[in-house]
Amino acid sequence: MDDPFLTALVTAPGPPGFEDEVRRLLRSALGDRVVEDTIGNLLLRVGTGHPRVVFCAHMDTVGLLAVGLDDDGAVRFRPLGRVDEAILPGRHVRILTPRGLVPGVIGIAPPHLREGGGTGAGWRDLAIDIGATDRREAEALGVRPPLPAAFAADFFEMQEHWVGRGVGDRLCCYLLVRLARRLQADPPRASVTLAWTAQNEVGMRGARALAARREHDVAVHLAAFGTTEEVSPDPPTSYVQVGQGPVIRARAGDALASPQAVAWVERAAAAADIRLQLGFTAGESEATLFQETGAIGISLNLAVRYLHTDVEIVARQDVVALERLLEQLVDHLHQIPGRSDGIDDHSDC
């Protein structure tokens, strides 16, 4: 999996609603049969028949929205998605302008200029410094807010782990690309939609628009699962660990994974000797949106330490196991409990 495409995909900027670069990379990898819908999801349909199954993963990562310029050329911003503001100081960012990426930095007053230690700096106290001395110079660089901004991406390997900004979700996008190639080479006797969704981090809006079309009986959502493990001083609410296997998101807030889908996934995992973990989280799941249309749904996740930072950590063995699990699932699309070939009890509602 040491693939230049993977590096490009992980490091591509893609704040919610501004996933253009990710779409461009996916299109280049997937060819002409990919279609884009109005909200920005990329869709690839393979095979015909029933059940009608969607596999989805989201393209966007949390970022910033440049909202205005100060007289001294500083760029004021607000978060786009759930950004932990404590990690903003000292970060490199890229502002997405019509003329390309403009680099900037978020700095704080250094220890030399303070009495005692620093206290929290929230996003309202901070600005992006793009090296402009005034408003005019900032505009000359193409920075005319409102404009989205992405955190600069590191992507590197660390003891059989991958580390980088948004690496969990982008690896899910990558696994869908590999799944697409496999399905295109050997089309299934079922309708499979592969969906790279937009605007997940601001309320799963891409997936919401897709689910509203009610085209699917089964939804399998791929995403990152934030773990805290032993870095948290609190007792854990989730015992998921990086490196211990793909995660079934048993609970996403109040929503339950569909029992039929859990049974299907557990059987497929057992057949391939893949160890799974069960995860319980307050975080959301795109599968829930499809469940709300009457489909059965499940979210399969990669365990990630330090979710929504520049240093998300994913274990290589979890990625390999999730890919094997997905291959098992597409080979056994007709074994979804409660579903039989050709029987589709609510496709016309």
């Binding site: 250094p110 220890p111 230690g117 410094d129 059989e160 870095v231």
Partner: protein, 345 residues
């Protein structure tokens, strides 16, 4: 990356070399190669590199420090997490959630600093509560990678160019100074030195000016120019009660800081010289201190030739390349006119 100034590749190389205080060897080795044959080179026991040339006239020292702030492994937990302490002064907020490299006897080990959840109680995000995660789950696995207490740790350092002329990156303090000194030594070695010159690339500045102290204990200087940063408050969101120097308006004569008051005679001489050469300079007062503090105690006239820098001791510290070029030009003009430098009372 390409830094658009003369010999910018040397600066680019210096910025990616690791060198926390006490562990400056990669930086020193690089500089030794750059200055080979330009004078008499010597490395003292603490690790300062000095290059001397010229025999007559006042003994003039130019000094810049090679070290940077970083971290140091203090303990390897049973679960494979590394506890650490700081090398130098670093704000806790810029330590959180950043890529780091642990430098072992066998090579580099990548890691990241931990990010306790946002819901964690106050205090959970101070440096004492953080750790370095190198992706192993046991002490034994960490030890297999060569991890032991005491190893130095450096931060992500890839620099970036902003608006064509602003440079931002972790190790700028004081690698730009090391770079300027290489340029100045080359200039001095080209002509006939107008004084007895010593160029010193010092160690352990960030942990109490220790390299400069050792240097000061062994030598006497008539004049000392320290090439180092000037922490400026001229940055978005900073309170401007101290340290007001704009980026891009010329090198800063650092007249007063927490460690030393510069020689007014030397500052006046430099200011007059800069004016004659059409080199813009600013004068300012700031926090922190420089190698000039102990070196002034040798009886020298001391002046830090500084650059306005934003966001010191973080991954985004920042300077203006015009200032750097002007500072090098100023240093070269000083070297050319050293026969007139003020000495004694």
């Amino acid at each position: 990356m390409t830094i658009p100034i003369a010999d910018g590749h040397l600066l680019a190389d210096l910025l990616v070399l690791p060198g926390p205080s006490g562990y400056e060897t990669p930086v020193r080795d690089f500089i030794v190669r750059c200055v080979e044959g330009l004078g008499t080179a010597h490395v003292d026991p603490i690790g300062n590199l000095t290059v001397s040339l010229g025999a007559d006239g006042p003994h003039v020292l130019f000094a810049a420090h090679m070290d940077e702030v970083g971290l140091q492994v203090t303990y390897v937990e049973e679960n494979g997490l590394l506890r650490f302490t700081k090398i130098g002064t670093i704000d806790d907020r810029v330590i959180l959630g950043t890529p780091v490299v642990v430098h072992t006897a066998h090579g580099s080990v990548h890691g990241v600093t931990t990010v306790p959840p946002a819901s964690a109680p106050p205090g959970a995000r101070t440096w004492q509560a953080l750790a370095i995660d190198i992706g192993v789950r046991s002490r034994a696995a960490a030890e297999t990678l060569g991890i032991v207490p005491g190893l130095p740790v450096t931060f992500r350092r890839q620099p970036v160019l902003l608006n064509r002329r602003y440079l931002s990156g972790w190790a700028l303090d004081d690698r730009w100074g090391c770079f300027a000194m290489i340029k100045l030594l080359r200039h001095a070695a080209h002509g006939i030195p107008k004084g007895r010159l010593t160029f010193s690339w010092t160690v352990q500045e960030e942990v109490g000016l220790r390299g400069a102290q050792a240097l000061a204990a062994r030598h006497r200087f008539d004049v000392v120019f320290v090439i180092d940063g000037f922490v400026t408050s001229a940055a978005p969101g900073h309170r401007r009660f101290l340290a007001y120097a704009e980026l891009g308006r010329g090198p800063v004569l650092r007249l007063v800081d927490h460690g030393a008051i510069a020689s007014r005679r030397l500052a006046a001489w430099v200011e007059e010289l800069a004016g004659r050469h059409g080199i813009p300079v600013q004068a300012g007062c700031t926090g922190g201190e420089t190698d000039g503090k102990p070196l002034q105690m040798t009886g020298a006239h001391m002046l830090p030739l500084a650059l306005a820098m934003r966001y010191a001791h973080s991954a985004v510290q920042m300077l203006h390349l015009d200032d750097l070029e002007h500072l090098i030009a100023l240093g070269q003009a000083i070297l050319d006119e050293l026969d007139g430098v003020p000495v004694g009372v």
